[in-house]
Amino acid sequence: MLQMSVNNGHGAVPSHAFARTLAQLAEGESGVLDRLELPDDIARRLMELGFLPGHIIVPARSAPGGEPRVYRVDGSEVALRKETASRLILRPSNGAGK
């Protein structure tokens, strides 16, 4: 039932060659989450915090040095490191979400 494909290979090319990850969004942009390429339990934890497919995510401030970055999602703010954000794949953008 879970909408995610577990991707164990490091640096494996995502199936959508043009799909961007959350880590590539700049502050103030927004994107719609497509899937979480993370192990099952971590993905569930993030989904409980609002990182669900279809939700709009807006990157906000980051710690000095660019990470971890705060993301606005589903009414709250959650900080993630780059290594985690780069496993959250966005829907191919035609504009910025809904």
Binding site: M1, R45, M47, L52, A63, V78, R81
Partner: protein, 645 residues
């Protein structure tokens, strides 16, 4: 997990609740997601009538309190459960919550009713937890907290409509301001009297394992109750643009850390001096009243000076917890963890380890308790294991004594930074380096984690309430004073007895001939290579209980008052200890884990003797080897140490 919540729930619902009243207390559990104001409500309902312990066998904190009902005689027992988003047992917190709710936690009675507390400024997401909780079919009050925030930010919810959808009563409250709390009391009075009836929910509960569907369910329920989410918290965004500013952010962070550090030392000093003077005065007072006797000696030289030496650290510990409380309750702690994360990651740790490690500069015991904010078990364990290497305030009296006796106070960097201050700073740095090196070692070996990602929810900024800060301070004082009144008192008395036995011709023996002296002589062969004699040996043995004990012990051994006449003690030490031995003693204290309270708290927090045993062995070995090398190097004269004779 595929077992069905509903089945467990049915079994529960069949038990006639009115029969369970009688002798057994009425038990109500508070459950809610993190940052929903659970603890605030718990404090509001119980006040001082609460106690903190661990759930048996796990590291999860259990808070149990009693709430006085306004219209009933019997109290209600409240259990505060850990903050969870779901009941899928993945973390220890979720497992504990699930076990308590199912009545499967030994020593914790199965709750008769539940208070489900949700943040109504984020109802869409928080309502997700309502699905598994309501499926338990226990009488449940759904509490929508932060009503004041919802109103001021223009949000809305129809509580009556939500109640009929969920089949449970709904109360809109503000736990921090106390608004609407009477509805919570009314509910608990109703359930304890057995008059609350369960209505079936109008909405169908979702399949709990499917998070997207649960989220959709929560959204639909919210829409049904005319929920309008409030505007984003503008103040939080404004404050974040300062506190997380690329330049101002780290600067403020450093100022906050330095300020906390400085205040713990300088701000607590008048209070500590006052306490010390009070103990001295009491001692003199007793000496006036009582004739010289064994009892007086035990009371004044033993108990009063020994326990007093420990209690003087109470102001520092309270100040530290006041700061941690303010930082945590205001929401800044999450920002501090965010800023510190990158640096901590270099040592294999994470941002949430930062505050406990800084706290360990005051005392490892509260620091280890503060690691509870770290969810990742291995990171938490690593932080617990390295925290005692940070230079705690109990080392300070020892450092001051030895440095004062052996290091000449010559200017090092200008007039205001001398050799002595340099040595002290060096010892602080040494402790820090040892801690992070150990962290790296641990995280690249036995505690290598499966890269659990750093996920940190940023709560909105809030004013800390005096009530919650006060309760926290009272709780920590109790923990600390209990330690001084038990472990340390015991060691002091035992040591005093050993120093005064065996009695010869009705007189207490010379120290060298006493049992304490025999112990000192017995350990001497082991510590001789470090440059320590048998008197230091007694001090070391006594300081296994608490580091600062060595100052008092040496004071007694050299026949001089440890605190009153430190010059005399210094001179005595200087004639008795080689420079190599002195530096070795400093190094030994920097690394060794001489603190029974730390051992005890590590055992409690890690749920067994394994980790404290490993930690004690590691730190003692490190201390021994480093002190040995130091003594040999200094003795061989590679570095010349100038003692000011």
């Amino acid at each position: 997990m595929s077992d069905c919540h509903d089945c467990a729930g049915c079994a529960v619902a069949e038990a006639p609740r009115s029969l369970t009243n009688g002798a057994r207390p009425h038990v109500v559990a508070i459950i809610g997601p993190p940052n929903s104001g659970k603890s605030t409500l718990f404090n509001r309902l119980t006040g001082l009538r609460q106690k903190v312990a661990n759930f048996p066998g796990v590291t999860v904190e259990q808070r149990v309190g009693k709430a006085k009902m306004p219209h009933q005689h019997s109290d209600v027992v409240l259990v505060d459960l850990p903050g969870v988003y779901s009941l899928n047992p993945r973390s220890e917190d979720e497992q504990v919550t699930r076990d308590v709710l199912a009545g499967a936690m030994p020593g914790v009675p199965k709750p008769d009713a539940l208070l489900l507390i949700l943040d109504c400024t984020n109802l869409g997401r928080h309502l997700v937890l309502a699905a598994p909780i309501l499926s338990l079919k226990l009488p449940t009050l759904v509490i929508l907290n932060m009503a004041d925030d919802l109103k001021s930010r223009g949000g809305h919810v129809d509580t009556a409509e939500l109640a009929s959808e969920l089949g449970s009563p709904v109360a809109l409250i503000s736990a921090s301001k106390g608004e609407g709390v009477e509805k919570v009391f009314q509910f608990m009075e109703g359930t304890s009297a057995g008059t609350t009836s369960l209505a079936p929910p109008r909405v169908e509960l979702p399949i709990l394992q499917d998070i997207p569907r649960c989220r959709q369910w929560a959204h639909d329920v919210g829409t049904g109750a005319a929920y309008r989410a409030p505007a984003p918290p503008m103040w939080t965004r404004r404050l974040d643009s300062v506190f997380l500013h690329p330049i101002a952010g780290p600067l403020i962070f450093l100022i906050v850390v330095a300020g906390v550090f400085q205040t713990i030392f300088s701000g607590a000093k008048p209070l500590m001096d006052g306490l010390q003077a009070l103990f001295l005065k009491t001692g003199h007072g007793i000496e006036h009243i009582l004739p010289p006797s064994i009892l007086r000696s035990l009371l004044v030289d033993g108990i009063l000076s020994g326990v007093g030496a420990v209690i003087v650290f109470l102001p520092q510990i309270l100040l530290l917890f006041l700061f941690i409380g303010i930082l945590e309750d205001s929401g800044y702690l999450a920002r501090a963890a965010l800023i510190a994360d990158r640096t901590m990651a270099k040592f294999g740790l994470q941002g949430k380890s930062f505050i406990p490690l800084i706290s360990a500069y005051a005392c490892a015991v509260p620091a280890i308790m503060a690691t509870r904010t770290i969810e990742n078990k291995r990171d938490r364990l690593a932080t617990i294991l390295i925290a005692p290497l940070m230079t705690c305030s109990a080392r300070l009296p020892v450092y001051l004594l030895i440095i004062g006796a052996f290091i000449a106070d010559r200017p090092l960097l200008g007039r205001f930074f001398g050799m002595q201050a340099g040595a002290l700073l060096g010892l602080y740095i040494l402790g820090f380096v040892a801690a992070i090196a150990t962290a790296r070692l641990l995280k690249s070996s036995i505690l290598k984690s499966e890269r659990v990602p750093f996920v940190l929810e940023m709560p909105p900024y809030r004013w800390p309430t005096l009530r919650s800060l006060g309760l926290r301070l009272i709780d920590r004082s109790k923990v600390f004073l209990r330690r001084a009144g038990t472990v340390i008192l015991l060691v002091i008395v035992v040591l005093w007895v050993l120093e005064n036995l065996p009695v010869k011709n009705g007189q207490p023996p010379e120290i060298a001939d006493s049992f304490a002296g025999m112990i000192g002589h017995a350990v001497e062969p082991v510590i001789k290579p470090l440059g320590f004699n048998w008197k230091i040996g007694i001090g070391l043995v006594s300081s296994i209980a608490a580091r600062e004990t060595i100052v008092g012990t040496l004071g007694t051994i050299y026949g001089k008052e440890g605190t009153e006449d430190s010059l005399g003690l210094r001179n005595a030490l200087r004639s008795d200890l080689t420079p190599g031995g002195a530096v070795a003693l400093l190094i030994f204290f920097a690394f060794a884990m001489q603190c029974m309270s730390t051992v005890a708290v590590v055992r409690r927090e890690t749920g067994g003797w394994k980790w404290p045993a490993i930690q004690f062995a590691y730190m003692t070995l490190l201390a021994y080897v480093c002190a040995l090398i130091t003594n040999q190097v200094v003795r061989s004269g590679i570095f010349t140490l100038t003692a000011h004779r």
